[in-house]
């Protein structure tokens, strides 16, 4: 029998088995006890759910009264196909839908733009050029009942305009509309890189959409301040926490600067986090986020309305943790991540399908992802009691540790002149790229194990059927758009274009002009084109 030669030479028999550091780089003690939470006053620092500082959850009854929103991705390239996917998900029990846009739409380009070639309807995103696409996408969906989350950023004002114009056509009052617009430009400059306008006009557009929603769409979240993309680009959970909150506070400052009172808009600010593989680190991250947000809103921004103190968050399992190798293992990863999001008290959850390292999910993998949430809700017991990990020495200590590390980042960001200055200096981009590289090195050195990737690897991969996209779609979409463009009242369109440009140059809210422009048939690419002319474009210094 072959001898295991490593067994006796290694002084620590557990070395290399379980991680001794979490993803944020904190050492994990083998055991936690009362001394690790010394100085913590449970009543003051943790308290009760639904009460300041909201560590245990933003609502007093949490899932006992209302489960989290089971929100799955309902997009596909062709708007009509996406509509079918949305209906299937709703039939299977989803009560929230996320809509991703295709790359051309994300970049403010119509399907017939030369830069869009080969990318129309790709990436599982829907191609939205016109209000007609919005009609097809949302046909038959009850927009006051099913919460639609538009994963839309730089083009959010135009997407919101189409959404409002569509509701109007259907006779549905805007104040009944529910859903979310991602609309978070800061993280675009930091990580996702789908920007075109410079930071200043981006902030103006965001404030316009927030103040428009405040007055007209009180149930709609006009922004979802996102850590997810920071983490996907490589940020550690602690960096995700610190940068997301710093971005959140920046929006609060901008809102106040634009003349709104903090309690008017802060209750509508919502967040978006990623959950990674480390279950406890996830829970600590959410709990710390709620405490920091509540304290800062109350003590620094003088918010008086408790709704302004509540850190409400949508969560998605980690796409970047999925491996292309032994893809079925991703089902287990997603389950652990989803479980942690529930134990962390998320308001809404999106579970990824196991084949997403390679393609848009198949109906089979998509159903499994949805059922994962239903099993956690109905069978696991994790949803039966609020904040089930509270009082755990480990989780409370980790929550505190997260908070302390965050404060250090806030100081550095303040010293460099705030978030926008940090972006312009490439600070966040460098921090994130550094973490991504360090993570890759830890995999390559074997310091961190990913099953099936750098340990327990297999030569032969079991074949898995991937979803095929309609190769004719782009051609058909471009042709349909051409026809649509010809059929419009060209004089009216020109007038709407002039009106939009004038509003962009001035200080009035852009939303009314945009709504009337899309109603007149202005395409997304045309609207963004006018805005780009006035606002200019942003170029980043490419660093690696």
């Amino acid at each position: 029998m072959a001898q295991d030669t490593t067994a006796n030479t290694n002084p620590d028999p557990f070395a290399g088995i379980a991680p001794v550091k979490n993803l944020s780089g904190f050492e994990i003690n083998p055991l936690y006890g009362p001394e690790d939470v010394k100085g913590m006053d449970f009543e003051r620092d943790v308290g009760l759910p639904g009460e300041y500082p909201y560590v245990r959850g933003v609502y007093s009854t949490m899932y006992r009264v209302r489960p989290w929103t089971i929100r799955q991705l309902g997009s596909l390239g062709p708007p009509g196909e996406a509509n079918k996917r949305i209906r299937q998900l709703v039939d299977m029990g989803a009560n929230g839908i996320s809509i991703c846009l295709d790359m051309p739409t994300i970049m403010g380009r119509d399907s017939d733009d030369p830069l869009a070639e080969g990318e129309v309807g790709c990436c599982g995103g829907v191609a939205i050029d016109t209000i007609q696409d919005m009609r097809e996408l949302l046909a038959g969906i009850e927009l006051d009942k099913i919460s639609i989350n538009f994963v839309s950023n730089s083009q959010s004002a135009v997407i919101l305009a189409m959404f409002c114009a569509l509701a109007e056509e259907r006779g549905l009052p805007w104040n009944l509309l529910t859903g979310t617009m991602q609309n978070d430009a800061l993280k675009e400059y930091q990580a996702q890189k789908s920007y075109y306008f410079p930071p200043r006009p981006s902030m103006r557009l965001i404030m316009d959409t927030i103040s428009f929603c405040m007055r007209n769409l009180p149930r709609f979240n006009p922004i979802s301040i996102s850590g997810y993309h920071l983490a996907s680009a490589g940020a550690t959970p602690m960096q995700e926490l610190a940068f997301t909150l710093a971005n959140g506070f920046t929006y609060v400052e901008e809102g106040i600067k634009s003349g709104m009172s903090v309690d008017d808009f802060a209750p509508r600010l919502s967040f978006f986090f990623k959950v990674h593989n480390d279950l406890f680190e996830n829970v600590a991250k959410f709990r710390a986020a709620r405490r920091i947000w509540a304290r800062t809103m109350k003590e620094k921004f003088w918010a008086k309305n408790p709704a302004s103190w509540r850190f409400r968050v949508h969560t998605q399992t980690s796409g970047s943790s999925l491996t292309a190798q032994q893809m079925e293992n991703n089902i287990i990863r997603t389950t652990i991540q989803a479980l942690s999001a529930v134990m962390a008290g998320t308001q809404s959850l999106h579970t990824n399908a196991f084949d997403e390292a390679f393609s848009v999910p198949t109906p089979h993998s998509e159903r499994l992802a949805l059922r994962t949430q239903q099993i956690i809700l109905h069978e696991s017991g994790a949803a039966s009691t609020i904040d089930p990990l509270a009082g755990s020495y480990y989780v409370e200590a980790l929550t505190q540790q997260m908070e302390e590390a965050c404060e250090k980042y806030f100081q550095s960001i303040a010293e460099m002149g705030g978030v926008i200055a940090g972006i312009e200096k490439g600070y966040f981009q460098r921090e994130i790229a550094e973490s991504a590289f360090r993570y890759q090195r830890s995999l390559e050195k074997g310091a961190r194990i990913v099953v099936g990737l750098n340990k327990y690897t297999e030569e032969e991969e079991s074949p898995i059927a991937l979803r095929e996209l309609d190769s004719e779609f782009e051609k058909n979409k471009v042709a349909a758009l051409k026809k649509y463009k010809e059929d419009r009242d060209q004089d009216l369109l020109r007038a709407k274009g002039e009106e939009l440009r004038a509003v962009c140059k001035g200080r009035d809210n852009v939303m009314p002009a945009l709504i009337s422009a899309v109603r007149a048939g202005m395409t997304l690419g045309e609207a963004i084109g006018h805005m780009r002319d006035i606002f200019g474009v942003y170029r980043e210094q490419a660093v690696f």
């Binding site: 790359m103 869009a116 890189k193 292309a324 996209l469 490419a542």
Partner: protein, 133 residues
Amino acid sequence: MSPKKTLRILIAKPGLDGHDRGAKVVARALSNAGMEVIYSGLHQTPEQIVNTAIDEDVDAIGLSILSGAHNTIFARVMKLLKEKGASDILVFGGGTIPKKDWTPLETMGVGRIFSPGTDTREIVTYLTETLPH
């Protein structure tokens, strides 16, 4: 024997897709392995990429694509290289490119496609073994 030539590699992000984590990690790993790396930055057209490759006299172009538009983009880059008489530049790539597309891309003349999760040392080995230097 001539002195060892330092390999020059262009890591490029074509198209509209902004997922630059992989491109940056690979750029850094190649640079740490002693290669001279030029990173294109985001949103490059195939024309810009090929022009940069020729201007910078690189030995290879690594295309990072996570948008699903790989078939269109690789084809365009290969065609432009041929038109400009620069087919000696090796083209390789990575990103979310399903295995079934690997063979057609290789037939097109693309060197190697690296799957998500590839050890960066594998890319270094591939380049040092494939490129004359």
